[in-house]
């Protein structure tokens, strides 16, 4: 029973990283650290990564999902100009008005910075062994869920609105067999492609398990 010998061990991955010249031509491969869809990303490391583990996909929410807070930020930046029309602070002396406006801009800066950080660090990572969902819910709360590729049972793609169809992004729901709850990649670009890659890696992992390769 080969399974007895692999219990508790990691499978030795046969997944080969494509050569650099091939990588450059691959759709979705980019060196841009702000990219929301990166196939075989460069210089990406994460906590708890195995030395032999290769990162296949790095995903974030589609950039268009940032539009809402960007519009709010633009209004916040322009709001002090409205004081010419609506003199709400005129009852205060000049020095208080100056400090109030500076304080407003500081809050706006904090809002923009916080929203950007939330988008930037909420990532989904797919390696040749596992998949990760990293969520920074707020400044103080972090949640990292991971599951082995071998535990993937079902991958569902959900694209449900006009804007999602136009910009080709959606949710990818991954049902796993382990104790880990289902993992959801929210609003990621090219969800069909992501699902296809996940299925491919899952099959590869299954073949390795059957062959009994251990690291």
């Amino acid at each position: 029973m080969p399974d007895l010998f692999v219990a508790g061990g990691h499978h030795k991955s046969t997944h080969k990283m494509p050569p650099e010249d091939v990588l450059r031509k691959m759709p979705g491969h980019t060196r841009n650290p702000l990219s929301a869809y990166c196939y075989y990303p460069h210089n990406v490391e994460f906590f708890n990564k195995d030395s032999e583990e290769k990162i296949v996909l790095l995903l974030r929410r589609h950039p268009i999902t940032n539009l809402q807070w960007i519009i709010i930020a633009v209004f916040m930046l322009l709001a002090p100009l409205a004081l010419d029309v609506l003199p709400l602070l005129n009852f205060l002396p000049g020095n208080f008005q100056t400090v109030a406006i500076m304080l407003w801009y500081l809050l706006t800066l904090a809002f923009i910075f916080e929203q950007f950080l939330t988008w930037f660090f909420n990532v989904n990572i797919v390696t040749d062994e596992r998949l990760f969902d990293v969520d920074f819910v707020n400044l103080l709360y972090r949640e990292i869920t991971d599951a082995n590729l071998g535990n993937i049972e079902d991958v569902t793609v959900k694209i449900g609105s006009v804007i999602r169809t136009v910009f080709n992004y959606g949710d990818v729901l991954i049902q796993t067999a382990g104790e880990v709850p289902n993992i959801e990649f929210d609003a990621v670009p090219h969800p069909d492609q992501v699902a296809k890659i996940l299925r491919g890696l899952s099959v590869e992992e299954e073949i390795e398990r059957i062959e009994g390769r251990v690291r």
Binding site: L34, E45, F91, F96, L103, A110, F113, F121, L140
Partner: protein, 74 residues
Amino acid sequence: MGELAQATPIFLFIAKGVILLFLGIYIIFAVVVLRQIGLMTTTLKVGLEGTLKVFGYLHLILAIGLFLIALLLL
């Protein structure tokens, strides 16, 4: 409608206290943001760590700077 009512000295004194208290708390918030950036960049390294840390420090410096400005101006 005549002139807008001007704030009374007691109101300005309380307002100054509230603004300084708020900015004091804001400095703590800026330190937490900086700490969080450190934690986030430990969890995930994608090549923008240095830039983000610079922004974090800049944010903290601005918060301290505004606190000092408020202390001097008000």
